[in-house]
């Protein structure tokens, strides 16, 4: 009895100041979400190779204009994708040392055109992905958090996603003037909805999950809940959606070019290159083959990397 009383001295009931390092000691784990994600992603050789391909193609196409413009008299050289001489001798040349990918029907260099086109198409893809994901993220987070919005948003989602995507694409590009921003608008008009739906489901699941409720009960501040409990799950979705929207947008641009509603013909894009190459395919197959191979590499790489990253970003697949 006496012993116990001695042990329960007054100082035991004093308030201890919060000490970050000591609290970390208790809760410490050397698990890092990003390190594990990256490690899981690069464990597969295929995804590593494709990632390298993807990054090098993308950066080369963005650097190409600078390389081209650094060339002497670039305006009058074949590094200018729109340069041509009115000389039938330069038309439809097969690949050679001077023109790695040959020349097109009016003697423009396809090598330069392909990289300029890749840049335009990637730019289009990134722009669409940016707007889609930003809007989708905001709307999805609200949709998941504000319960009263659920009904309205579900209704909007049902109405809009019931209509085939091609209908929107055709409708917008028909009504508005064909161009870069028209395609962006047409693609984003419904694109954000499916991303919002995805995010909403994830946010709902996380909000109601036991670990989040537990950490809420333990008094975790909102900032920490957001950065630790919710954010890691959403970032992976965002990156995956960006990676998957890009090949889809590039494909849609090719499709729109085919139905005559794509970018104006004087703009160099993969869609325009492919549709021009298609017309002369049987006589000059290289005019279609080279842009097609580059485009397929880019889209397949983005597609697979996006999917592999999504797998790697799922904490359940971490070691």
């Amino acid at each position: 009895m006496l012993n116990l009383k001695m042990k329960l001295s007054e100082e035991l009931f004093d308030r201890v100041d919060f000490d970050e390092t000591r609290s970390e000691k208790v809760a410490f784990s050397n698990y890092s979400y990003w390190r594990s994600t990256v490690r899981t992603f690069f464990k597969y050789k295929v995804s590593t190779v494709l990632f390298v391909v993807m990054v090098s193609f993308a950066s080369f196409s963005f650097l190409f204009p600078f390389i081209a413009q650094a060339m002497p008299e670039w305006e009058e050289s074949y590094y200018n994708p729109n340069y041509f001489m009115l000389d039938a001798g330069t038309f439809n040349k097969p690949p050679s040392e001077q023109h790695w990918f040959g020349t097109d029907a009016i003697g423009r260099d396809i090598w330069a055109r392909t990289w300029y086109g890749t840049r335009t198409s990637l730019l289009l893809g990134f722009t669409i992905a940016f707007f889609d994901v930003t809007l989708g993220l905001l709307a999805g987070a609200l949709w998941g958090y504000v319960k009263r919005m659920d009904r309205l948003m579900t209704e909007v989602y049902n109405v809009m996603t019931n209509i085939p995507m091609t209908v929107y694409l055709v409708l917008f590009t028909y009504i508005l003037k064909p161009g870069f921003w028209t395609i962006v608008l047409a693609m984003c008009f419904t694109g954000w909805l499916s991303i919002a739906r995805f995010i909403r489901n994830k946010v709902l699941a996380i909000r109601e999950s036991e670990y989040n409720i537990a950490s809420h009960c333990l008094g975790t501040p909102l900032r920490r809940i957001l950065t630790r409990n919710i954010f890691p799950f959403l970032v992976s979705i965002v990156i995956m959606q960006v990676a998957l929207t890009i090949p889809y947008s590039i494909g849609s641009e090719v499709f729109l070019g085919f139905i005559g509603l794509g970018l104006p013909v004087d703009q160099v894009s993969l869609g325009n290159l492919i549709n021009q190459g298609r017309a002369t395919f049987e006589i000059f197959p290289y005019q279609l083959i080279f842009p097609t191979v580059i485009l397929s590499f880019v889209t397949v790489a983005f597609y697979i990397v996006g999917n592999k990253f999504a797998d790697a970003a799922d904490p359940r697949n971490h070691v």
Binding site: I163, P164, T166, L171, G260, L295, T299, V300, Y303, I304
Partner: protein, 334 residues
């Protein structure tokens, strides 16, 4: 006494009430509303179409500015969109979609459609049969040989079909295969050898779609406890696959079949165009290129309504196939 009197007529009323609260009723009502909204939005948006698309080419050239304005007013193209919309709906119920302006000047659109739909329907249904068969076969093979050669090859096929823009591989197939077998490039109703390639091309994407989802659902299903239990009981593998795994994996896929069936009416824009099949998909492209507003409007609306209707029928089919949904509808959750 009052209660005894009330009790007898109350029964049918609760049955009625249950009907109105049922999932099926709510879903039907919702779809009708969706169709209405979709028609309205498309109608209003299409008022922004380039104006020359409302005239036959000849008329547009000879008319003066004032005559054009009068013509538009007269034919119910300019004016209050809400009023115009209800007039349009009225005509729609009488089966009148208006006239084509440019493709076949002053021919009724319903007549054009009735000529075009059979082609798209024929090709669409043939390709759907093929893609269901091969898609399911591929999906089952991929699930069975998971992480082995078949699975890898199937995945490669799916990735290529989904990531590479379809225009490119469809075009290459058309050129190379027709060149190899020495058959005509474009469709001809008299020559059956030209029928196969469009059907196969139409199937490629949907085979990939069916295969990848069936594989996914089957793999998910195989890891469930009841399947493990059946295995432990000693149920033969074949019966587990056909009786348990496949049946449950098919349920979510069944939902999309009505939609796919209905959308065959709208045809494929690319395939019908490159093979010159006189169907619906090619018609839309032609109408856009010729700026035939009447036709664009009818086709866009038709395709949208088919989309809504397909999703609705899919949900209704799920109601029949999956008993769990009825339960979910009653509790009014979700």
């Amino acid at each position: 006494m009052a209660t005894a009197q009330k009790k007898t007529p109350a029964k049918p009323r609760t049955r009625m009430k249950r009907f109105f609260q049922s999932y099926g009723f709510r879903r039907s009502w919702q779809s009708a509303l969706t169709v209405f909204l979709v028609l309205f939005f498309v109608f209003v948006l299409l008022r922004l179409m380039p104006i020359e698309g409302y005239f036959t080419r000849q008329d547009y050239e000879i008319m003066t500015e004032a005559q054009r304005a009068d013509y538009l007013e007269e034919n119910g193209i300019t004016g209050n969109p809400v009023v115009l919309f209800f007039r349009f709906l009225g005509n729609l119920f009488r089966g009148d979609l208006g006239m084509s302006f440019r493709i076949q000047p002053n021919v009724e659109i319903t007549r054009i459609l009735s000529e075009k739909i059979p082609y798209s329907l024929m090709f669409g249904i043939a390709s759907m049969g093929i893609s269901l068969f091969f898609g399911f076969a591929l999906g089952m093979a991929m699930a069975h040989y998971k992480d082995r050669l078949v699975d890898g090859a199937g995945t490669l096929y799916v990735v290529v079909v989904r990531a590479v823009p379809s225009l490119i591989y469809l075009f290459l197939i058309q050129i190379w295969v027709t060149g190899f077998f020495n058959i005509p490039m474009t469709y001809s109703s008299k020559d059956p050898s030209t029928w196969f390639l469009p059907v196969i091309s139409l199937s490629l994407a949907s085979i990939a779609w069916y295969a990848i989802w069936l594989r996914r659902f089957m793999v998910d299903e195989e890891n469930k406890d009841y399947v493990k239990f059946a295995k432990a009981k000693g149920v033969p593998q074949k019966r587990i696959i056909s009786g348990h795994v496949l049946r449950n994996a098919l349920v979510p896929l069944a939902q999309y079949i009505p939609l796919q069936l209905l959308l065959t009416i709208s045809g494929s824009l690319i395939i019908e165009s490159i093979y010159s099949i006189p169907g619906m998909g090619g018609l839309l492209i032609e109408a856009i290129k010729e700026k035939d507003n009447g036709l664009v409007q009818s086709l866009v609306m038709l395709f949208s309504v088919l989309g809504v209707l397909g999703v609705y029928l899919g949900d209704m089919l799920m109601l029949l196939v999956d008993p769990r949904i009825k339960l979910a509808g009653k509790t009014d959750g979700e």
